[in-house]
């Protein structure tokens, strides 16, 4: 199963500016209690773990559950201190993984 995603990062920022980052990932976040058309239980499978790197340094880690709505939409902030890659990577319960990245240029 592919996991398409959309990452929104501003292309440029001033040094010290707080920027908003948003990511939308297509994932059903199955809670293990839903049944399919044939009446079989759809097994639990959600995004489990996600991390974010900024210019090569890990800046946060997120542990998720089925308490997050399907097709998760996450928004957080970063203080723009240096130019570099903003990378997000994640893995779900069955071991499928995905990643997204975007570059930000920080001006003085």
């Amino acid at each position: 199963m592919a996991m398409p995603s959309r990452l929104q990062v501003p292309a440029r920022a001033k040094r010290g500016e707080t920027i908003e980052i948003r990511i939308a990932i297509q994932h059903p976040m199955e809670n293990g209690q839903r049944r399919d058309e044939s009446g079989r239980t759809v097994p639990y499978n959600t995004l489990e773990e996600m991390f974010c790197r900024y210019a090569g340094d890990e800046v946060f880690r997120l542990y998720l559950s089925s308490g997050i709505a399907a097709n998760p939409l996450l928004a957080f902030h970063l203080v723009a201190t240096r130019s570099g890659e903003i990378e997000l990577a994640w893995v779900d319960t069955v071991g499928q993984s995905g990643r997204a990245s975007a570059r930000i240029t920080v001006d003085d």
């Binding site: 209690q33 946060f60 308490g67 928004a75």
Partner: protein, 151 residues
């Protein structure tokens, strides 16, 4: 011990005994939810304050509820926030998420959409670098619960 020190010590004891700012697991919590609370708090006091949890007071659909959490305070030093946990009182998987902040470049503010299995109180607990716990709790009324049951 001089008088001021004694008075301060007594005030401290009284504060602990009455503890108006102290949060405890709610009676409405399921056993799973209580377990999540105990896992997160590990016997430490949980103080009301610093955390701000925002979600609608009343929602039509529990499948996708706008949610935002933020914590006041410095981004460096022992008072900085290193973890934010969100606990539901009745969801089958009560620990909605744990966010571990690992850099001063990340302000303690996070938004997403959550599932709520019914009308309930939601708790956001922030943990500082020196291990203090701060909480905000909000009630959300849900007209149509998230489909955690067969549908």
């Amino acid at each position: 011990m001089n008088r001021t020190a004694r008075r301060r010590a007594l005030a401290g004891l009284a504060a602990l005994a009455l503890a108006p700012g102290l949060a405890r697991p709610a009676r409405a919590m399921t056993d799973f939810s209580r377990y999540a609370w105990l896992e997160v708090t590990r016997g430490r006091p949980v103080w009301k304050g610093r955390v701000r949890l925002e979600l609608p007071e009343s929602v039509e659909n529990g499948n996708s509820v706008p949610f935002r959490v933020s914590v006041e305070g410095p981004r460096t030093g022992p008072e900085r926030v290193v973890k934010i946990h969100v606990i539901s009182e009745i969801n089958p998987y009560p620990l909605l998420f744990t966010w571990e902040l690992r850099s001063a470049e990340v302000p303690a503010e996070f938004s997403t959409r959550i599932r709520l299995a019914g009308t309930q109180q939601l708790h956001a607990i922030a943990e500082t670098a020196r291990g203090e716990l701060w909480i905000d709790s909000r009630m959300a009324e849900v007209a149509v619960p998230a489909c955690f049951d067969a549908s």
